[in-house]
Amino acid sequence: MRPGAQFCGACGYAVAGELDTPDRPAAAGPNSNFELHWGKIKQIGLLFGLLLASSLFLGIIGRFNDSPWSEAIVSAIDALIVIAFASLHYRQILPLLGLPKMGGRLALRLLAVAIGFAIAMTIYFALLQRLGVPMLRVSDNYRKAGWGLWAMLVLVSLTPAVVEELAFRGVIQSTLESIFDRRDAWIIQAALFSVLHLSPIIFPSHFIMGLCFGYLRLRSKSLYPGIILHGSWNALVLFQELYWP
């Protein structure tokens, strides 16, 4: 025993009395929880890596070929990847495919989030435009190739909204919730969503987008409000390019 110590450092014996000392906690390390969680992180990494690879593939072929067919094919590949992962996680995804059950108060709150989101994004992109930041125009390749509005709406607005919501708010957020608490899972999926858009200049805006869509999914327990808001924003960007350049 060291002078002044109340307890023995080796056996936990109490000098002063008969205090019970708890057992030494189990060592951290490759236990079953670790293996389970590590496996889940690897799955998220694989999904993220595949989506990243398809974005890069599009980036590379976009240098030589501006046909909208390349975007259509990559969108289809992304959809197949996400559907495959969603099927593997069907137990977590199925409840999110139900219609949102919400009262008037929650509906008003979600509407407020949607309006706040639209205002924040409009201000951010207006600021970028004012600073002279060159922005990618999503409709140019379609117009050059003579594709119609419906094709643009499907490929620019609807498909990314469904695929990205299913991937990030469906598979990734649900899987993260089994490792982290809900708040950390919400923040991580938003960060991954923003990073996957490959342009650091839009990281802040897309991080806020990810937070908004994640919030809608958390509160409504459904993917549909996020899909509607995501698709509407994409459509708004498209219409702005086409009709209010």
């Binding site: 109340q6 307890f7 030494r24 906690p25 390390g29 060159p134 490792i179």
Partner: protein
């Protein structure tokens, strides 16, 4: 490179690794001849004065210093470092290998936890390093790009702004004015992008104190995306600082594993 373990009040083990990877092992100040080397994976078993069996193992790492571990009767020992070990319950300073806190009597976490905490801290350090590197490279690249663009701008200034530029760039046709705007934006774009990345990494490093696993995960994803995106924009960039890139990713992945092991143990 010195390693010291205060096994208990009466036993102190030290391992000094000097030049030419020569190692000197001492137990309570008495030298013990050993075959330990940092050049390859090695293990040296010995007996400490109280009769318990101990073993020191050295495992060289691809990135960072070799991993040196001491086990006594199969139990991993916490190395003695400058930062004192504190009881997680009462915050009192305790001896590194006490099984129980001498002030509050609560059981101390096992030695493995310190190793994982160290990995998580190393990941946070790697994130801070990235933040600093992005900030510095942003400023340097700003001035480099600006000086490179000066000649092109001088040439464009002699042309009529409304005329189309004779050559297309990456398949895109520009007017002189549009091309001038694009070139003027280039250094600012490089600076802003790098500063955004520096701020993102700083935010993640700060978040890493509270949530090391989450911060390391996001930082790894961000860094990989940055490397890959740069490789698409400028394929030659993939080879630049390749060793540094690999080391940073190794530290981040190690940090993810360490923080995950800690989290899984407490789940």
């Amino acid at each position: 490179m010195n390693h010291r373990w205060d096994v208990d009040d009466t036993t102190i083990i030290e391992l000094k690794i000097g030049g030419f990877a020569k190692s000197i092992l001492t137990v309570n100040g008495n030298a013990v001849p050993s075959s330990l080397t940092i050049r390859r994976k090695s293990e040296f078993p010995f007996v400490i004065p109280d009769g318990r069996h101990a073993a020191i193992s050295i495992r060289p790492q691809f990135a960072g210093v070799p991993r040196v571990e001491l086990r006594v009767e199969g139990n991993l020992m916490v190395p003695t470092e400058k930062t004192p070990v504190k009881c997680p319950s009462c915050d009192a300073v305790v001896k590194p290998n006490d099984r129980f806190c001498s002030v509050c009597g609560k059981a101390m976490p096992p030695a493995e936890n310190y190793i994982f905490q160290k990995s998580a801290k190393e990941a946070t350090t790697a994130i801070w390093t990235l933040a600093v590197l992005f900030a510095i490279s942003g400023v340097i690249m700003f001035f480099v790009t600006k000086s490179q663009d000066a000649a092109a701008l001088a040439r464009l200034n002699s042309l009529n702004p409304n005329d189309p530029f004779p050559n297309s760039i990456n398949g895109v046709a520009y007017t002189v004015a549009a091309l001038r705007d694009k070139i003027l934006w280039e250094p600012w774009g490089v600076l802003i992008v790098n500063l955004i990345l520096a701020v993102v990494m700083m935010g993640l490093a700060i978040w890493g104190k509270r949530a090391p696993l989450a911060a390391a995960l996001v930082a790894t994803a961000t860094y990989i995306v940055v490397i890959v995106t740069n490789a698409v924009i400028a394929p030659a960039s993939i080879g630049q600082g390749l060793y540094l890139k690999i080391i940073v990713i190794i530290f981040l992945v190690r940090g993810i594993k360490g923080a995950l092991a800690l989290r899984s143990a407490h789940a």
